[in-house]
């Protein structure tokens, strides 16, 4: 049954090709169903393959399809490596992707480029599967670039809006920085191992010189930072919310952004062979990103932006796990996160859909009454992300934190702080969207208009200048007029001058194709914790399942009953505290919301605008210098060679003057020279 492995990526590829050539002829609903069927078929195949894989010796199966790049000793095949790690990834990627495909049929209903959307989605799933199944770095890189390209295409799917197109470009360019690291790592790996195939390369990693292993590890880490949106390359992910919401759920929460974590887990022998400071660096980058993004998420007003920063933060947790040697914890977190973040995004999409493209959480509230299913499912996602026991987020986060504590108490404390903030910001969003008083009627428009008029529309649109209105305790408003801030959704920053809709909006519940995936994901998000419960060694299914891949390099430690109970207790307590603070701030209005929604947080610590300012100023001059160098030296050398050839030829050409006698003379002289030469060489 394992032999069906090739079918897993082949189905989405087939779906992509069919939709590419016949998509517009197939038309609206059918194209979506076709794409969904392709991915769902892929999922079913994955389950069948999974059952077959358990019979394979060592839970390992390799399938080489064909020779791809034969070049002397450098040989790359298109081949798949199926081991517990890639199997896990394949299962949840195809599973979550099928649900999101189904959801998209409802969400993209009526879009003029409906079939094209599914073409891209199928291509994305294919690329993602190549990424996780590829048995060598080059094939993984193919998938890596494929998902990047699809991400670009899908972020700027509604490219009529300038901001969306820029967001796509930003994502692409930021990712390129990481891709550079990946490429250098690939070259270095070939140089060091003589192969880029995982099964041949990784067993030799232990024998590598520490400096070499560190170099490869650092370069792969840079690649992972770019793809998984870690500090300082996380700026693209929040902007990526300009894409349709299913894209945010699929690409920017559940699958593509986890590619960096997957890569680091895959090459764990190299990280183990590297200098000690590298895992520590990974852990610190992870935990700082988790903290930073969590604080930013506290103050965002866009329903998807909160979730986007939350994703960055959660990915930071995964990096913390990887850096602390908890590879299985990283994967556990990844799976749980895929479920509850996919769920939250899809629920958010359902809200946006129901609110007629409204994304500002200040204009929502009390939506659980009109959208009971979406609201109920969102609550599951909320509690799971807030790490409330016994949902999956609690177990996953606790697993990560246990490894962090083993690595260093400082990391543990920072991780706990991030956990508290996580519970707080997601509670804030949940309360503002689904609870409290309804703010989506006409009155709220007036109120916001009054506030905007009070503070005045920020005139400098380009440099990230922001005006904060401090009126009312719950509705302290930051009107962001930065182009990137308003990249997605309706142009709420300029609500004031626009005529207010006569009756406000009337939210409605979404169709079944959108709510069913929510329910399935909610069930998964609630129960995914069962994969790896910490109480008993026999309950750690995921740890044991992943052991062939990461066994030797996983940090080993025992967590005894009391210590475990203590850790779990602290986590649960912090989660409850975060939720309580959120509740008392946003529902009971006991504390002023401005205390939480710091201006610094709203602007993302000014990291994005600092980068923009640097790139617009000194950075640009630097690039102009580089461009000048390119023009003068590089182009000069290339064109110089061409010009020299042409000049030389022009002079040489005159020799061929067309006079027969001149040629005859040349032949005669040549003959004399040859004969003279031969005579000097020959002795009679």
């Amino acid at each position: 049954m394992v032999e069906l492995l090739w079918l897993i990526p082949a189905l989405p590829l087939a779906g992509f090709l069919v939709l590419l050539f016949f998509g517009s002829r197939i038309g609206e609903p059918v194209a979506g169903w076709l794409a969904t069927a392709a991915v769902a078929g892929s999922f079913v195949t994955a389950v069948v393959v999974f059952l077959g894989l358990r019979d394979q010796p060592g839970d390992l199966y390799e399938l080489t399809l064909f020779e791809w790049i034969p070049a002397g000793t450098f040989q790359v095949d298109v081949g798949f490596l199926l081991d517990p790690l890639s199997m896990t990834m394949v299962l949840f990627v195809t599973g979550v992707a099928s649900l999101i495909h189904l959801y998209s049929i409802g969400y993209m209903h009526g879009d003029s480029r409906f079939p094209r959307f599914f073409t891209y989605l199928n291509l994305f799933v294919f690329s993602m599967l190549m990424l996780v199944l590829g048995d060598n770095l080059i094939l993984t890189f193919l998938g890596w670039e494929g998902v990047g390209a699809c991400s670009y295409l899908l972020i700027s799917f509604w490219f009529e809006k300038d901001a969306n197109a820029s967001a796509g470009k930003k994502a692409f360019i930021t990712n390129r920085i990481g891709d550079w690291g990946f490429m250098v790592a690939t070259f270095a790996a070939f140089f060091a191992f003589g192969t880029v195939k995982y099964t041949e390369m990784l067993p030799d990693a232990a024998g590598l010189a520490v400096s070499t292993a560190t170099f490869i590890g650092v370069m792969l880490f840079i690649g992972a930072i770019g793809k998984s949106a870690q500090f300082p390359l996380f700026v693209w992910l929040p902007d990526a919310m300009a894409g349709p919401t299913p894209v945010s759920a699929l690409i920017h929460a559940a699958t593509m952004v986890t590619a960096g974590v997957y890569l680091l887990v895959r090459v764990n022998p190299i990280l183990a062979a590297a200098a000690d400071w590298l895992p520590t660096l990974i852990a610190w980058v992870g935990v700082l990103t988790a903290l930073l993004a969590a604080t930013i998420a506290l103050a965002q007003t866009d329903i998807k932006k909160v979730l986007a920063y939350s994703t960055v933060s959660q990915l930071g947790y995964m990096f913390l796990a990887v850096g602390s040697g908890g590879y299985s914890a990283a994967i556990f977190m990844m799976i749980a996160h895929a479920f509850y973040k996919g769920l939250l995004f899809l629920a958010a999409g359902s809200v946006i859909h129901g609110m007629h493209e409204e994304q500002d959480i200040r204009r929502m509230g009390a939506l659980r009454k009109v959208m009971p299913i979406t609201g109920g499912m969102f609550l599951v996602g909320w509690l799971s992300l807030a790490a409330f026991p016994p949902l999956s987020g609690f177990w996953a986060k606790d697993d990560v934190l246990a490894f962090a504590l083993h690595k260093s108490p400082v990391l543990y404390v920072l991780g706990l702080l991030a956990a508290l903030l996580t519970a707080l910001y997601i509670t804030r969003e949940t309360m503002m969207v689904f609870f409290g008083e309804a703010r989506w009627g006409k009155s709220v428009d007036d109120e916001l208009a009054a506030q905007a008029a009070h503070t005045g529309p920020g005139a400098d649109g380009a440099d990230g200048e922001v005006v904060v209105g401090e009126q009312g305790e719950a509705n302290a408003v930051g009107e962001a007029t930065v182009a990137t801030e308003t990249a997605s959704g309706p142009d709420h920053a300029h609500a004031a001058p626009e005529p207010v809709p006569a009756h406000g909006v009337t939210p409605h519940e979404s169709p079944w194709v959108m709510t069913v995936p929510l329910m399935v994901l909610a069930v998964c998000a609630a129960f995914a914790g069962l994969l790896n419960l910490p109480f008993n060694d026999s309950l750690k299914f995921l740890d044991h399942w992943l052991e062939p891949v990461i066994g030797e390099n996983q940090a080993q430690f025992e967590t005894s009953g009391v210590k475990l109970a203590f850790e779990l207790g602290i986590s649960a307590f912090l989660s409850a505290t975060g939720i309580a603070i959120g509740y008392f701030t946003y529902i009971r209005h006991r504390f002023p919301a401005t205390f939480i929604e710091q201006k610094l947080f709203l602007h993302g610590w000014y990291i994005d605008s600092s980068i923009s300012r640097f790139m617009g100023g000194p950075g640009q001059r630097l690039f102009e210098l580089a461009a000048l160098f390119d023009r003068v030296v590089i182009d000069g050398a290339v064109n110089g060679v061409g010009r020299a050839t042409r000049g030389g030829a022009a002079r040489l050409r005159t020799v061929q003057n067309g006079y027969v006698r001149a040629y005859a003379l040349m032949i005669a002289v040549g003959a004399v020279v040859v004969v003279a030469f031969v005579l000097t060489q020959v002795t009679f």
Binding site: V655, Q656, G658, V660, R661
Partner: protein, 101 residues
């Protein structure tokens, strides 16, 4: 005998030199072809002489090959000359330099 052989060889060299110089200095295509023929026959003469000197028949056999090739060359060459002269009466070799660089 030795002196006579030497004389033949010298005659051959002189004829070859005449042909070569003629080819270089004359512009009439017809005369240039005759010069080429002169050079070929000078070589033929030296072949025959060497054949006699070394008592080897090969030299004389090669002469037949050369004659055949020369005949073919003349056919082509004359054909070209006639074609050119028809187009441009009184054309010299220097007038046919269309293939210059």
């Amino acid at each position: 005998m030795r002196n006579l052989d030497m004389a033949y060889l010298v005659l051959s060299a002189v004829l070859f030199g005449l042909g070569a110089v003629g080819l270089l200095v004359r512009r009439n295509p017809l005369v240039m072809i005759m010069c080429v023929e002169l050079m070929l026959n000078a070589v033929n003469l030296s072949f025959v002489t060497f054949g006699v000197m070394l008592d080897d028949i090969t030299g004389q056999v090669i002469v037949f090959f050369v004659l055949v090739v020369a005949a073919a060359e003349v056919v082509v060459g004359l054909g070209l000359v006639v074609a050119v002269v028809r187009r441009k009466p009184g054309a010299t070799a220097d007038d046919i330099r269309l293939l210059r660089g």
